[in-house]
Symmetry: C3
Subunit: 136 residues, 3 copies
């Protein structure tokens, strides 16, 4: 049986329930829904990077990337990114932030597919992102 | 060509449209969005296990599990669980139910990744869950 | 390393951000969230097929299919379809449209699994659909 490995970057806060921040099984790597929490600090509850969409999106993408790297993957391996926003009015700004971020990542492969929908999120959170990667 | 197999536990109500409760193709098993409907009974329309989040979540997880098992998989094979709630206020209770459920499942592998978002669902339904598993 | 290929049907409008309409890596093909935009025309902004759920759903499904075919896949390879609607009241009509569409596709394999949830979408759009396929 192929082992399923939990991917838990040291920077990450403990999940609020019995799930993994990411898992890898064989060549499939799934990143759980990430939000814009800053790197974990002992004794501090999970804290968003800031109130703005920009701060939260950049931190969220950094959190996704940390999990990919923990599993031996990179953005180049990602086939799907799911973006959950809370407000349709954030779409254009999200795209600006997203494009600049990925331009700076210097991908060597085509960008992932993406679905963006507008949902409810816990108070104070403006964006949640998860990702599916295929390695190898 | 690898065959795609529909996974249809005998306990399940007929899907309301032309989709499968679960499918397996090769080592990939996808469970469709499940809700808290009780096992099907001839002549009875789909009926939630109860009005509460607890009743519906436990029935939903049982429904997901039945599909996994129909496809020769178990919770240990699941890499991603998507939880759709209707109310942010349900998050803490969902986590309590979720944790107790998975503690009782005696997993031998790390728990799956998870994304939880808050959406609309048909009247009377408080939770919907789907899952992606990688076998082998 | 297995190459990741972007799937970009000539009929499609340019994505509004740095993502691909679809990607294939190895035997996994992921279609990004599609909406009911008509085939791209030089100088015309993305334009929905019409204001109704029927027009948009049929165009959306055609858009998903074009990406599948661009990647050498068909509906028979699809294991999961995610349907995002904006209004619970559209569920029955969506199912009617969906069933008639897939009946006409003459699938030789069981239908894909599906999750349907109700979210916000940009103004004027009533439905968004993405899909995961496993080839081979």
């Amino acid at each position: 049986m192929t082992e399923k490995t939990a991917l838990t970057p040291s920077t990450h806060t403990t999940p609020p329930a019995r799930f993994s921040h990411g898992v890898r099984k064989g060549n499939i790597l799934q990143v759980a829904g990430q939000v814009g929490f800053l790197p974990a600090e002992e004794g501090r509850p999970p804290t968003p990077a800031g109130p703005t969409l920009r701060e939260q999106t950049l931190q969220t993408l950094a959190n996704v990337k940390a999990i990919l790297e923990e599993g031996g993957a990179s953005w180049d391996d990602v086939v799907m990114i799911r973006v959950y926003l809370t407000d349709v009015a954030h779409f254009a700004e999200l795209n600006d932030i997203y494009d600049a971020y990925f331009e700076a990542q210097a991908l060597t492969q085509p960008p992932a597919a993406r679905t963006t929908v507008y949902v409810g999120l816990p108070a104070g959170l403006l964006v949640e992102i998860d990702a599916l990667a295929v390695l190898g």
